[in-house]
Amino acid sequence: MSHTVAPAASPRITRPPGAVVIDIEEVTKLYKMGAEIIHALRGVSVEIRRNEYLAVMGPSGSGKSTLMNMLGCLDTPTAGRYLFNGKNVAHMADDELADIRNREIGFVFQTFNLLPRSTALANVELPLIYAGQPASLRRERAAQTLHNVGLGERMMHKPNELSGGQRQRVAIARALVNNPSIILADEPTGNLDSKTGVEIMALFEQLYEEGNTIIVVTHEEDIARHARRIVRLRDGLIESDGPAE
């Protein structure tokens, strides 16, 4: 798999940003915890374009997770505007959001979230089932995607027969398989040792260079540094938004 790891010293390519994918304006989110009202987001505006590699950073309680859920269409804002590829998703119903998540967003979780009793191949096929793709096409595309992340040889293995890094590669293949507009990774290296973490970040680098749009949510500077742009959150507001040095 070493061929997928970019040499550390190689110069970074920054691709020119394309059309706007995500357009969030003055988004707020309130939670009721008993009698108390928590302002998780107090008016956040951000624009994310195709071909961007973005890191969302912030300490716990900064609204980082809330923003990620919002970006991933898992949750809707209390107020504000959210356009995804020009479509307003702020007031969509559950099933409409499910379809957006299926077609437009590829999730990568800290804990991998693979189905334990399904093979790597079946796990990667899952989004295609929800997309209504026929079995032959599912199999072909899932196998191809697994091959692309360097797991062509281990497709019929179940998650407990794979290492942590391999599991995260399966999860990344699952996120990629439906050709989503964005890859949304939540602490993708949080459950991996540092060497494997570096390998996974190299894979993201490769995917970015191949033309994918990637958003990584993290609290680690080392991880955020891989991105081309960093958005920092504090107390439900954007503290800074600019290119990574």
Binding site: A98, D99, F107, N113, L115, R117, L126, Y130, A135, R174
Partner: protein, 416 residues
């Protein structure tokens, strides 16, 4: 549409993987359904068996025969209105037949007098008690709906002459002659010697009470000599069209009133009985037993359903994070709902199939051990119990599956 199909296939795959992964738990849950299905289907076979036995018994009475008798077949409160009625005498049959002959397009075919008496049949050392001896005419052949094992019924000459000949029921012939042919043998009915000229094939008993194979049929004249006819008789009247029972009954009542010269406005001094009257009387009882039985056995199925509901709740709870993941990957509410419903239905179907094969084995075993016990297994029962299993799965799986489909993906993903 296609998407739904793929989701269903995936749901079945997941359901069976889940059942395989939790063998013990699934088996115990299915056990509740198995017990329920066995109880309900066994009850079903018993009810069907009783029903069939009942219907067979009724058919022995003949569904095209009306019985003219002094008393009705149902209980009467005002017995004093009946007790003074004149007895039904055998000669009424002849008069009735001439009225029938005079009626154009009569619905009635023939009236046959039948007198009966319980006696004992003897041959040498062998003896059969509780034999119902019937005295009747040669016309009896027209209303007899049993076959002959051997021999024949007496003819008109023997009938008119009152010859001492008789036809024996199957059980009597078996008991007296023990497998040998009874034809030409002598039998003593009430001490009077008779020549056996025929033996009837086995018919069975009516509701297990009245044994049709324990009857002996002799010419009316010889019956009169041996037993007397002071106790009266009954008339069995065959009618032509089974679908016009009530018309036939009405015509017969009119004919009887003419024969008896009853005045207009006077109440009938006879009763016309038929098998459907017994059916009408016993049907509510039968249905009551069936309903009570199904309700009680249905309770065990209900307990099984609670088990399914419980295990589906557990399954949803421990797979909350998986539900969150699936939702993140694009599963709609319907997808999640179907997945857990199918899981519940699968356990129920497996339970139902096992239960059904257990019932089948039991029915075969009971049938082999007690041939007289009325149990009957039918293909309808198979479909019914499968339908019941699916229904139990859907009903008991619905609440937890609905809850799962409504989970907030954010909350579900955070669940540990």
């Amino acid at each position: 549409m296609k998407r739904l199909l793929y989701e269903l296939t995936e749901s079945f795959r997941i359901a069976f993987a889940q059942i395989r992964a939790n063998k013990m738990r699934s088996a115990l849950t299915a056990l509740g359904v198995i017990i329920g299905i066995v109880a309900v289907t066994l009850m079903g076979t018993a009810i069907r068996g009783i029903d069939t036995g009942f219907q067979n018994s009724l058919n022995m009475l003949g569904d095209d025969i009306l019985y003219v008798q002094k008393w009705p077949w149902h209980n009467v409160e005002d017995w004093w209105n009946y007790v003074g009625r004149p007895p039904i005498t055998p000669d009424l049959a002849g008069k009735l037949n001439s009225v029938i002959a005079q009626t154009p397009n009569s619905l009635l075919e023939v009236a046959v007098p039948v007198a009966g008496r319980g006696t004992t049949a003897k041959f040498g050392e062998n003896k059969v008690s509780n034999v119902m001896t019937l005295g009747t005419t040669a016309e009896y052949s027209r209303i007899l709906n049993a076959d002959f094992k051997e021999g024949r019924l007496f003819n008109e000459t023997e009938d008119v002459a009152g010859r001492p000949v008789c036809v024996l029921g199957y059980d009597i012939a078996e008991a007296l002659y023990q497998g040998r042919s009874a034809l030409g043998e002598r039998v003593f009915l009430n001490g009077h010697p008779y020549l056996v000229i025929g033996v009837l094939a086995k018919q069975g008993s009516f509701l297990g009470l009245l044994n049709f194979d324990n009857q002996a049929v002799v010419p009316l004249e010889s019956f009169r000599k041996a037993f007397g006819t002071r106790r009266g008789a009954e008339l069995r009247v065959k009618f032509r069209d089974k679908n016009r029972l009530s018309d036939a009954k009405e015509e017969l009542a009119g004919a009887m009133r003419r024969v008896r010269a009853q005045l207009p406005g006077e109440r009938d001094n006879f009763d016309i009985n038929e098998q459907s009257a017994i059916k009408a009387q016993l049907d509510p009882i039968k249905q009551g037993i069936a309903l009570a039985g199904l309700f009680i056995t249905g309770l065990s199925l209900f307990v099984g359903a609670i088990g399914i509901m419980n295990i589906t709740f557990v399954s949803v709870k421990e797979r909350t994070k998986e539900i969150g993941t699936r939702k993140a990957l694009g599963a709609r509410r319907r997808t999640i709902l179907l997945q857990f419903l199918i899981e519940a239905v699968s356990i129920c179907l497996i339970g139902g199939l096992v239960g059904l094969s257990l019932t089948y084995t039991l029915v075969i075993a009971v049938g082999a051990a007690f041939p007289a016990f009325p149990v009957e297994f039918s293909i309808g029962l198979v479909f019914l119990s499968m339908a019941v299993s699916v229904a139990v799965g859907i009903v008991s799986g619905f609440a937890p599956a609905w809850g799962a489909s409504r989970l907030d993906p954010v909350v579900a993903l955070r669940y540990e």
